[in-house]
Symmetry: none
C-alpha cells in the first residue's frame, strides 16, 4: 500500500474567530479529501492577520504535502491570502490583465462598473494556475511548490465547492494514487464510554497490526456512543470486507447494546422496527416536553408509524389526557413507577396503538428532593400483544437540556430493547 | 489602551476531523476570552495523533501566551493530551493517589466499580494544578510554564464550561489587565438577513468611526437573526453605556421585529410574557412533532406556564384529541387554514388554558403537491380573553429538519406578535 497522503485545511477570516461562527467549509473539504483516501492531519482557523497567517502556512508546509486554504480572496484590505501565500513561497504577485477583464465582464453582466478594489482579485502569484469562479468575482488559485500542492479557494461555499470538485480534485486524484479511506460507523446505547472501551479495546487493538490496518475511534454523546472504524486501502473491495469482519467482531462483543452498524440513528432504528411489524406508536411525555416525539418524527416517513403524543406537562394533563388517577399522583408523586406505567398504558389504550413510551422525571434545575433528586427519570414502555409493561428509573447527572436529551435517547433505547426482548440492564438504570 | 493579550484554542480528537463534526467548544472559550479582552489569534483541531498534537502545542507556545486545549482527557488509549503536553513541556507525568480515589468515588455514587482504564485520568504533569470536574471523571489541568498559561479541559461541554468559568477564568483575569471586550446580543425574528442588513447598515456604519468604536456582526439562523455589537474599552462603564445607546438605535429602526436586546432566547421571551400575564399555554403540533413544546420547556421554570401539548401526527389524533371534524380534514386537507384554526381552538378549550398555538404542515421529503408543496405550514394562535384566533400560511424552503426548526421558531414568534398585538407581516407568510 502506498503511504497515505495527508492534508491541512486553513480557513481564513476574522469573523470565524468570533463566538458565534463555525468554519463549515472544512467539512466539505474533508469529505472530498477522505473520499480520495487523503486524511486530514489538522485544520485551523486564522483571522485576517498577516503574521498569524504566514506562521500557519509555514507550519502546514512543514508537515503536510497538501494545503487547502479557504477565504481571504475578496477585494478588500482584509483579504490577505493571495499576498501572504506569495510571500511565504517567495513568489512575486503579478496582475493578470485578462483576469481583470474577466472580473470586469462579470460586473458588466449585472450592469455594474467594476469597483477599483476588485483589481486585487486579478493578482496572481508567479506560476500559479487560475481557477475560474462562475459564482463570484474571486478566482481560485492552485500552486505546486517543492512537491506540495497549495489550493487557495474563496470562502463562500457555492464558490468554493465547484473549484474543489473540479480542478483541485483532478490534481488531488493524480497525487493520491489508488489509496482510499473507508469508514463504518456503529452506534451503541446503554453503556458509559469506559464500559464500551473496556470491552472493545482488546478487539480493536489487534486490528492496528493487521492488514489492512483498521483504526477505531470512540465518540461519546449523552446516551449514545459512536464507534468509527476506518481503514486506508488500495483495494476497496478488500477494505470493505475487512471492515465488515471488524464490525461483526465488535457486534459479537457488545451484543444487544449495538443499535446500528451502518450509521443509522437510534430513532430511525426504532422506526424501522415499528414499520417491519406494522406497529403504530404513541408517546406520553412529561419532563422531555415533546423531545422524544420530535426526534422520532425527524425521520422521513415517520408518519407511517407515529400516531400521536400526549405531552402531559401538568398533573391535570396527566389525568385528563391519559386517565392517570389524581390520587395516584398525590400518593406516589408525578415522578414514580406507578405514574410512568399508568401514562404508558393510558397512551396505549387511548391512542389505540401497538406500543407506547412514557417519560416522567425531574429535569431541573428546581423540583428535586433528597429522595428524588434532579435527574431522576422514570421510563415505561407498554405493548399490547401480549399485554406487557416494563418500567425503570434512571438517574442522569447534568443540566436541564442534558437531562432531557439523555432521557429521550434512553427512552428510545429501552423501547428498542423492549421490542427485541432484551434485558433492561443499561448503565443508568438504578436498582 | 493596553495591548490586548491573545490566545490559541486547540481542540483534540480525531472525530472532529471527520466530515460531520464541528468543534463547538471553541465558541464558548472564545466568548469567555473575549469577555476578558483577550483575542483569539487562531484555533485548530487536531486528531488523536501524538506527533501532530505535539507540533501544534509547540507552534502555539511559540506564538501566544495562552493556550486552551479541549478534549483528549478521557480514559482511553486515544486520549493523549495529558501525555503530549507533559512531553512538550519536559515535565514528568505522575499518578495522583487522591485523584484515583476521587474518580473511584464518582463511579461509586452510580453504584459502579471504577474501570481500570480510568486510572489514566489521575495522571498529572509535574507542577500542574488539578481542576475538579463535578460533571465527569476527567479532571482538568492548569499549567504555568515560562510565562505562558496552558489549560487542559475535557471535551464534553458540560464538563469543560464550569472549569473555564471557574479556576481558568480567575487566572486569566489576573493576566488580562484592564482592556475589556464587551458584547450585546440582539435577536430579531420574521425577517430575512438582507432585509435586516438593509435597515441597520446605515445605523451601524457610523459607529465604526465613533469613540468607542462599535463593531456589528449579523448572524443568520433559520427564522432568527442575531446582531452582535462589540466594543473594546478600558472604561467598562462607558463601554456598556455606548452599547446601550447603540442597541436603542437599532431597536428604533427594527421595532417589533426585535425579540430581545439582552441575549434572551425567543422561547424564554414568550415564557416571560406568559408568566407576566399569569397565562397558561397549550400546543397542538402536527409537522413539528413536539419540537415547539420541547423548545418552550427548555426554559427552566416553564412548568409555571406550559400546561400540555397535543402532538396530533395522524388525522385520527387530530379528531380524537382536539375535536377537529373528520369531514373538515377530508374537505380542506390536514394542512389548511380551517384545520389549523380548529386545532388551536380545540387545544384552548380542551386544556382550559389562556393561549394555544397550532402548527400543521408538510415537512417533507414526501407529501407535497403542486398546490401545497413541501414546506407549506399553517400556523394558528388562539387566545380566549377576548376570544381571538389568527392564522397564516408560510412557505419554508429546505430539508425536513430545517422546515421543522423554521416552523417552530416562526410559531413562537407569531405567538409573541399575537400577545403584543403586532401585525403578522413577517417575511415568510404568503398572502
Amino acid at each position: 500500500m502506498s503511504r497515505p497522503l495527508s492534508a491541512a485545511i486553513l480557513a481564513v477570516g476574522s469573523e470565524m474567530l468570533t463566538p458565534s461562527r463555525v468554519d463549515t467549509n472544512s467539512l466539505y473539504v474533508t469529505q472530498v479529501l477522505n473520499g480520495l483516501g487523503i486524511g486530514v492531519a489538522y485544520k485551523a482557523v486564522v483571522g485576517d492577520d498577516r503574521d498569524e497567517l504566514a506562521a500557519q502556512i509555514r507550519h502546514a508546509l512543514g508537515r503536510v504535502p497538501i494545503l487547502v486554504l479557504t477565504g481571504g480572496l475578496g477585494p478588500t484590505d482584509d483579504d490577505l491570502t493571495r499576498e501572504v501565500v506569495a510571500e511565504v513561497l517567495g513568489r512575486s504577485l503579478l496582475e493578470q490583465a485578462e483576469l481583470v477583464e474577466t472580473i470586469r465582464a462579470r460586473f458588466a453582466t449585472r450592469g455594474l462598473p467594476m469597483p477599483d478594489v476588485n483589481r486585487r482579485q486579478a493578482m496572481v502569484p508567479e506560476g500559479a494556475t487560475v481557477l475560474d469562479n462562475p459564482n463570484g468575482s474571486a478566482p481560485g488559485l492552485l500552486i505546486e511548490h517543492d512537491g506540495a500542492l497549495i489550493a487557495l479557494l474563496p470562502g463562500p461555499p457555492r464558490e468554493m465547492r465547484p473549484m474543489l470538485d473540479g480542478a483541485v480534485r483532478t490534481r488531488l486524484v493524480a497525487m493520491a494514487g489508488s489509496t482510499r479511506l473507508l469508514r463504518r460507523v456503529m452506534r451503541v446505547a446503554g453503556r458509559t464510554e469506559s464500559r464500551v472501551e473496556e470491552r472493545v479495546q482488546p478487539v480493536y487493538r489487534a486490528w492496528l497490526d493487521a492488514t489492512p490496518r483498521i483504526e477505531t475511534t470512540i465518540l461519546a454523546a449523552p446516551g449514545l456512543i459512536e464507534l468509527h472504524l476506518t481503514t486506508q486501502v488500495d483495494d476497496e473491495a478488500a477494505g470493505w470486507e475487512a471492515l465488515a469482519r471488524a464490525v461483526a467482531e465488535i457486534d459479537g462483543v457488545l451484543g444487544g447494546d449495538v443499535v446500528s452498524t451502518n450509521d443509522v440513528t437510534l430513532e430511525a432504528v426504532v422506526g424501522q422496527m415499528l414499520r417491519q411489524r406494522g406497529w403504530r406508536i404513541a408517546l406520553a411525555e412529561s419532563c422531555t416536553g415533546g423531545l422524544v416525539t420530535s426526534r422520532l418524527t425527524d425521520v422521513p416517513g415517520s408518519s407511517a408509524y407515529v400516531d400521536r403524543s400526549f405531552v402531559v406537562y401538568s398533573n391535570a394533563a396527566k389525568t385528563d389526557m391519559l386517565g392517570v388517577p389524581a390520587e395516584m399522583i398525590a400518593r406516589h408523586g408525578a415522578v414514580s413507577q406507578e405514574v410512568a406505567r399508568a401514562m404508558a398504558e393510558g397512551a396505549l389504550a387511548r391512542a389505540g396503538v401497538d406500543m407506547a413510551i412514557a417519560i416522567t422525571g425531574i429535569a431541573g434545575p428546581d423540583g428535586g428532593s433528597d429522595e428524588k433528586p434532579v435527574g431522576t427519570v422514570w421510563i415505561a414502555v407498554a405493548t399490547n400483544q401480549p399485554p406487557r409493561t416494563q418500567a425503570a428509573v434512571c438517574r442522569f447527572l447534568g443540566g436541564r437540556e442534558f437531562v432531557k436529551m439523555f432521557s429521550a435517547l434512553t427512552a428510545l433505547d429501552l423501547a428498542r430493547r423492549h421490542i427485541l426482548d432484551l434485558p433492561w440492564d443499561v448503565d443508568w438504570i438504578r436498582r
